[in-house]
């Protein structure tokens, strides 16, 4: 029986100006990262609504990572500052509800950091794989 090695399903939101360009650079340098990571392009990391993240978990994602420009480098000057506050509160709440905190992550990746992007994706995928499938956030309200 061929054991398919468990690969977590991961959604990555990348901001168009920095981290999406970083992802492209990782591609240009042919750096390898797991294929179960799918990237969704957003104009700025501040465009990512907590509802998108919860939707991803609810529809079966095992991990969500949000990449943005380094604070201070945001193309829209203050976008990633708001992201930082929103995600700090959201992640703290999710962990308060008992969801493993390793399933969510914010990473600042600039357009010149292709290597960092690939390394972060590899590390995050391994981290989420260690946790196994996401049962809790699929339905927080399922009847006991």
């Amino acid at each position: 029986m061929q054991v398919t090695e468990y690969k977590p399903k991961i959604v990555a939101f990348c901001c168009n100006w920095c981290s999406y360009a970083g992802a492209d650079l990782a591609g240009n340098n042919r750096l390898n990262y797991p294929d179960n990571i799918k990237i969704i392009r957003v104009p700025c990391s501040c465009r990512v609504n907590p509802m998108f993240i919860l939707r991803a978990f609810q529809r079966g994602a095992d991990g969500v990572i949000l990449c943005g420009c380094h604070p201070g480098d945001c193309h829209y000057t203050s976008g990633n500052y708001y992201t930082r506050r929103r995600m700090a509160l959201l992640f703290s709440m999710l962990s308060y509800l008992g969801i493993e905190k390793e399933r969510t992550r914010v990473e600042w990746v600039s357009a010149a950091e292709g290597a960092k992007f690939a390394a972060t994706m590899n590390e995050f995928s391994a981290q989420v794989a260690a946790l196994g499938e996401n049962k809790r956030l699929e339905d927080l309200r399922c009847k006991p």
Partner: protein, 663 residues
């Protein structure tokens, strides 16, 4: 229902190499809304684009998805294709199956599987696309050049030549930058001042150019076509209009012991000074750190001596606010500090100097007014050693720069040739790793230095310089002769690496222009758009974008000017179509969105609404100014009821993408 076309690109073997494009096209053919699906070697080619146009006509498509390279590469191309075929350009979505799929996954099976999912996601998004028409914003017909070196001056001259007003902001009291400090220039050996000062004078006399010297940019707001910049004019305690530049005050000032930064501290100047004879603006400046009158209130010699009465000790910093349509960064470079490279004994002996210091020593207006002598004892040096790549091409070592500084080989060959020409009795040794002379007439210039002027080029690095007695013992390896050689040199010249000016990093933050890890400005595209920053309306000129010599700097300066002219000549700028828009029926008017908007694009108005029970009600609702909004989306998340949405990246579209990705 949408009629969607799917076009999967091979991109030669870039995609087809690790993604089975046929299987992707077939799999995506039966996605909801898809009526046509095909694949082709080069979608971005003319043939590829014609294929799309034909498909749009034959299958009257309402939108299409191209599975190809990154949208940052060809989204604009495919939007133009759509427009040419009469389709709204925003009914196009790109699935990135090259940089983010075929190039990062080696296995064909995995790559194909992921390409199908990415294609499905793009289809889910394009199904919810709405035709958009971009708004327009006015262009302020005025440019700002930050940095008054040869790059800034050349850019300003070209822009003014096209009839647009330009401001040059220069932190030093005069424009001219590094080139003013250089003696001769390669490869033609004409004197730097002779070719620079006429341009400086042109800039001064051109009525379209305003030179704001001894000033710095403190804040930049707005966006392309509508920048508002705050400039601080530092107090120089001399009235620029009245001062004739006669220099009387600079002779009479009692404070003589001020290190002259123009000559890199090798000689001194007065507290009130004019940096060099051909300074533009030819106006004195009082150095507040050394002027006893400003510090203690007791002196005032310059005021007494000044015939024009231009001295004004009470002058304060002046803050100006200006509007600009385009900004050019021309902040230039500096040699790196030699402090971490003490194996060359730069701090232990005055006779170990950097190349820029050598330029000043050989320059007629330099500290030794042209007499080429040793800084320590003023004697004529008979044996000179040039050390190349000091601090350049260092990797992993925490002290140096990883890149090659590009100009050192040429200026060292120039120095060696000039010294051998003027003082044939001097022995010149150059220790090099490789001699890089890639320009026009560059290698011939280097060969002349070796063959006609007998400069000894030795392949091998200098290991150590130890001052012994009044000479410097240089220990180096000669790799070709496989010997370690020792030379007792009278003078050692270090070809120091160059790095961007310290003011570049804060400026980049102000302009939200991105920078690489070495603090050089990142260009929009290294090959195709080298003089533009990714931030629209910000252009790059000269060494601030990377190490380069004068010929390249001038050509890049003119290129940047051409781009600026291309922007300023437009009356209206087509703005970003993917901007926020609020659904007034659902807006609470709670001004949460207004607080997060970095551009202040949201205003409020009271509007009358017909209520279900046939009464009317006045409600406060948000309105987005399409020209000011840049489409970041912060407001769409801050708005609890989802009334604020972003065109092109709407809530429904991103939700659809998340669903498609997680399926």
């Amino acid at each position: 229902m949408q009629r969607i076309g799917v076009f999967v690109c091979w991109c030669g073997t870039n995609i087809a190499g690790t993604v089975d494009v046929k299987r992707v096209a077939d799999a995506l053919r039966n996605e909801p809304g898809v009526v046509f699906s095909a694949e082709y070697q080069y979608m971005c080619s003319q043939a590829g684009q014609d294929m799309i146009k034909n498909a749009i006509r034959e299958h009257n498509l309402t939108g299409f998805v191209v599975c190809s390279c990154s949208p940052r590469m060809h989204e604009a191309t495919f939007r133009k294709t759509a427009e040419a075929a009469g389709l709204n350009p925003y009914m196009v979505e790109i699935a990135n199956i090259r940089e983010q799929c075929s190039w990062v996954h080696k296995d064909m099976e995995i790559g194909t599987e992921k390409a199908i999912v990415l294609g499905r996601t793009a289809i889910a998004k394009v199904n919810l696309n709405a035709p958009l028409t971009p708004g327009e914003s006015p262009v302020t017909k005025r440019a700002l050049v930050i940095g008054g070196g040869i790059a800034g001056i050349q850019t300003a001259l070209d822009i003014a030549d096209a009839g647009f007003p330009v401001d040059i902001v220069e932190t030093k009291p005069t424009i001219g930058g590094k080139m003013a400090q250089i003696d001769k220039t390669f490869p033609t050996l004409d004197c730097a001042a002779c070719i620079l000062t006429p341009k400086m004078v042109d800039a001064a006399q051109n009525d379209k150019i305003r030179i704001l010297s001894y000033s710095e940019v403190t804040d930049v707001r707005g966006f392309v076509g509508n920048f508002s910049v705050t400039i601080k004019r530092k107090a120089r305690y001399v009235n620029e209009e009245i001062c004739t530049g006669c220099g009387l005050c600079t002779e009479k000032c009692p404070q003589k012991k001020v290190p002259n930064e123009f000559n890199l501290g090798m000689d001194t100047r007065r507290a009130i000074y004019i940096p060099f004879a051909q300074a533009i603006p030819k106006v004195a400046t009082i150095d507040a750190d050394y002027c006893t009158m400003l510090k203690t209130g007791k002196c005032g010699v310059c005021a007494k001596v000044c015939t024009a009465g231009a001295i004004d000790y009470t002058q304060k910093d002046l803050i100006m606010e200006e509007k600009y349509g385009a900004i050019v960064a021309a902040t230039g470079f500096n040699p790196i500090s030699m402090e971490p490279f003490d194996e060359f004994a730069y701090s232990q002996s005055k006779d170990v100097i950097t190349s820029l210091e050598l330029e000043r020593l050989m320059n007629a207006a330099g500290p030794t007014s042209g007499q080429f002598v040793r800084p320590s004892d003023g004697k004529h040096p008979h044996k000179i050693v040039f050390v190349q790549c000091v601090g350049s091409r260092c990797a992993g070592a925490s002290k140096g720069k990883e890149y090659c500084s590009k100009i050192c080989c040429m200026y060292t060959a120039k120095h060696a040739m000039l010294i051998r020409d003027k003082y044939p009795d001097t022995e010149v040794y150059v220790f090099y790793i490789d001699v890089r002379t890639p320009g026009k007439n560059f290698d011939e210039f280097y060969r002349r230095a070796v063959e006609e002027y007998g400069v000894h080029y030795i392949k091998g690095m200098v290991g150590k310089v130890t001052p012994t007695g009044d000479t410097l013992r240089v220990q180096a390896s000669d790799l070709l002769a496989n010997k370690q050689i020792l030379i007792d040199a009278d003078l050692v010249v270090l070809a120091a690496a160059i790095e961007p000016d310290k003011s570049a990093r804060p400026l980049a933050t102000m302009l939200t222009a991105s920078m690489d890890t070495n603090d050089f400005f990142t260009e929009a595209h290294p090959k195709l758009r080298p003089v533009e920053s990714p931030t629209a309306g910000v252009f790059l000129s000269g060494a601030c974008q990377g190490p380069k010599d004068i010929p390249e700097t001038v050509s890049q300066a003119s290129a940047a000017a051409a781009k600026v002219i291309g922007l300023l000549v437009k009356d209206k700028l087509v703005c970003n179509a993917c901007v926020a828009s609020s659904d007034e029926a659902m807006c609470n008017g709670c001004s949460t969105c207004e607080r997060v908007c970095p551009y202040g694009a949201i205003t409020y108005a009271d509007k009358e609404f017909r209520m279900p029970d046939r009464t009317t009600r006045i409600r406060r609702v948000a309105q987005v100014n399409q020209a000011v909004c840049q489409g970041c989306g912060a407001c769409t998340v801050a708005c609890p009821s989802g009334a604020m949405d972003l065109r092109g990246f709407s809530n429904k579209q991103i939700m659809a993408e998340v669903d498609a990705v997680c399926k």
